[in-house]
């Protein structure tokens, strides 16, 4: 697999992960990275350098909007929330990934690997 394809898969999975998390509630960058790591058992891991370009891009496309507000500890954090455009992206993205995994499973039996 070329680096380019790997990067696209990583990007696509990152978008789905972020949209899914933010569909539950608004979160700031560190929380997003932490929850993705925890909830995927470390399989998906975002560093600062990989997370924020994605967030900024999704914000630019109008899927997310961000606002500064204090977190529970009283510190200012930039919270990201899903816009209606972002919410509309979620279902087709899920479907796209489901089809992708079905196709890969049919080909390589990855779900039983």
């Amino acid at each position: 697999m070329t680096k380019r394809i790997r990067s696209k898969i990583a990007r696509g999975s990152g978008e789905l992960a972020i949209l899914s998390l933010l569909a539950e509630r608004p979160l700031y960058g560190f929380e997003i990275a932490k929850q993705i790591g925890e909830r995927t058992g470390g399989a998906l891991k975002f560093t600062l350098a990989s997370l924020y370009p994605l967030l900024y891009d999704m914000e630019k496309r109008g899927w997310l909007e961000a606002q500064w507000q204090a977190n529970d500890a009283g510190r200012d954090r930039r919270y990201y929330r899903l816009t209606s455009a972002g919410r509309r992206q979620l279902a087709p993205l899920r479907e796209e990934w489901r089809s992708f995994f079905h196709a890969l499973d049919a080909l390589a039996g990855v779900s039983h690997a």
Partner: protein
């Protein structure tokens, strides 16, 4: 505790106009560092782990620069400075107009020919509310204290200029010789007090609670 903002700015080669991104990333690193420390890592190891997050950050730096150039410096200043400033100017002018139209008169404190010192209580009180509104708008955007002060200044300056021109102009013209020859400095002092110092102080007083509220920080 390391200066995360400095670390982010240096690693990513970011400048003042990227302040929002620097604050956001610095906050991320700070929390990452604290997370490592809470897991029992030494300060040095926690710092090393945290700094690993900044590896391969070329794409991130480019994304931030592109975002800022697209948003534009003007947009950045608009939210922090011009919009609150313009709203304050509008409110200050409107409130004066309303008081004049509804018949509230200024209180004459002292007069010597064309030189008048007066006190416009209701308007000055309304200016404190206007100042508070401007301070709040600027604070909401977490602007720096310098910017918040700059937000309060334009209405005071504009009011001073407008009033000096429109209100005192007739007095100035009719007594031009006397003013120019004998009392120009006194006339100027009174005009500055009437239209700049007193309204400006009222605006500042209203904005004061918001001037020292915390800036955006990690």
């Amino acid at each position: 505790m390391p200066d995360w903002k400095k670390i982010v700015s240096k690693h990513l080669g970011l400048k003042h106009i990227h302040e929002e991104a620097v604050c956001e990333l610095a906050a991320h690193l700070e929390e990452s560092y604290e997370n490592h420390r809470s897991r029992g890592l030494t300060e040095a190891n926690a710092l090393a782990e945290t700094l690993q997050e900044l590896e391969n950050c070329d794409v991130l730096a480019k994304a931030i620069r592109r975002r800022n150039s697209e948003e534009g410096l003007m947009n950045y200043r608009t939210r922090w400075l011009w919009l609150p400033g313009m709203i304050m100017m509008l409110l200050a002018s409107l409130s004066l107009m309303v008081f004049v139209v509804t018949g509230f008169r200024e209180t004459l404190i002292w007069r010597a020919g064309p030189i008048v010192l007066w006190f416009y209580g209701p308007w000055l009180a309304s200016l404190m509310i206007v100042g508070a509104a401007g301070g709040f708008l600027s604070k909401r955007e977490r602007a720096s204290i310098r910017t918040r002060l700059a937000v309060v200044a334009p209405p005071a300056l504009l009011i001073a200029i407008c009033m000096c021109i429109f209100s005192d102009l007739s007095a100035l013209i009719s007594h031009l010789n006397m003013i120019l020859n004998r009392f120009w400095w006194f006339y100027l002092t009174i005009a500055v007090a009437n239209w700049l110092v007193v309204p400006g102080s009222a605006l500042l007083l209203g904005a004061a609670p918001f001037l020292w509220a915390p800036q955006r920080q990690a």
